[in-house]
Symmetry: C2
Subunit: 149 residues, 2 copies
């Protein structure tokens, strides 16, 4: 299921880019395919490093430009997890999403889901004076390993 979902996301993302008038390009496809292989949040640096480790020669700029395009098309979500660098993750067309636990000691990021939280947030959004498009919940603390150490 997870594999199918990720493959679907890559296909969906490439199609959406094409529909939006973007041409095909090596750097962009490389970023999209790399994102498709991940399930949780990556930084631009992570993406750049992994692409280079795989022998690819994409420039930082192309990574950022691709991420911007994908974010504009709502294909990826840009998250601020509080360490001064943005994180990006594919957003599933189904609309389902998770939130994040961040270890302030080692930097690890762990996703979690909680239906009750979603329900509570949903109710909250209706009560508020803004038109809410998106919500982010970030729990900061120490992961199990760092608590032990």
């Amino acid at each position: 299921m997870s594999m199918a979902t990720n493959a679907d996301w890559v296909k969906h993302a490439l199609e959406t880019l094409a529909d939006a008038g973007y041409r095909k390009g090596g750097a962009r496809s490389a970023v999209v395919e790399l994102l498709g292989r991940q399930s949780c949040a990556l930084t631009a640096r992570d993406i750049d490093d992994q692409l280079h480790a795989g022998g690819n020669t994409v420039g930082r700029a192309s990574v950022y430009r691709t991420l911007e395009a994908l974010t504009d098309l709502k294909l990826v979500t840009r998250l601020d997890l509080g360490h001064g660098q943005a994180h990006y993750e594919p957003s599933l067309p189904s609309g389902e999403h998770h939130h994040h636990l961040v270890c302030d000691a080692c930097g690890r990021v762990t996703p979690f889901e909680d239906p009750e939280l979603e329900r509570t947030l949903q109710k909250l959004c209706n009560r508020v004076s803004y038109s809410v498009a998106e919500h982010d919940v970030v729990l900061h603390g120490k992961c199990r390993d760092c608590v032990a150490a």
Copy 2:
């Protein structure tokens, strides 16, 4: 009550700094007093600008150093609201806290409180593998004015 709370916070903050071994200094007091006058999140830039507008000659560096000290002592909370710059706000000793609505169109930040959300988050924290020290909820969208426009 709001006035009393803010005045208390300034007093509390200055005492805590003194107890922690910090000497008295003009830049630090200026930042603390300015924070005491605000109730919601400010950027370092905001603080620097407001101090200069008031005729003060503090350097950026001192603002940041003060904010770091205050954050370490848990006197202020550092928030990442997703626009690449950190926001800071006094944290009340009572432990009560609010979360934020951010208008992605005009940048406005509006605080809100929701006891049910706090309860839900509390339960969630107990169920999770991390030891959670803090939680941030950020709702992104458009404020009433920007929806109208």
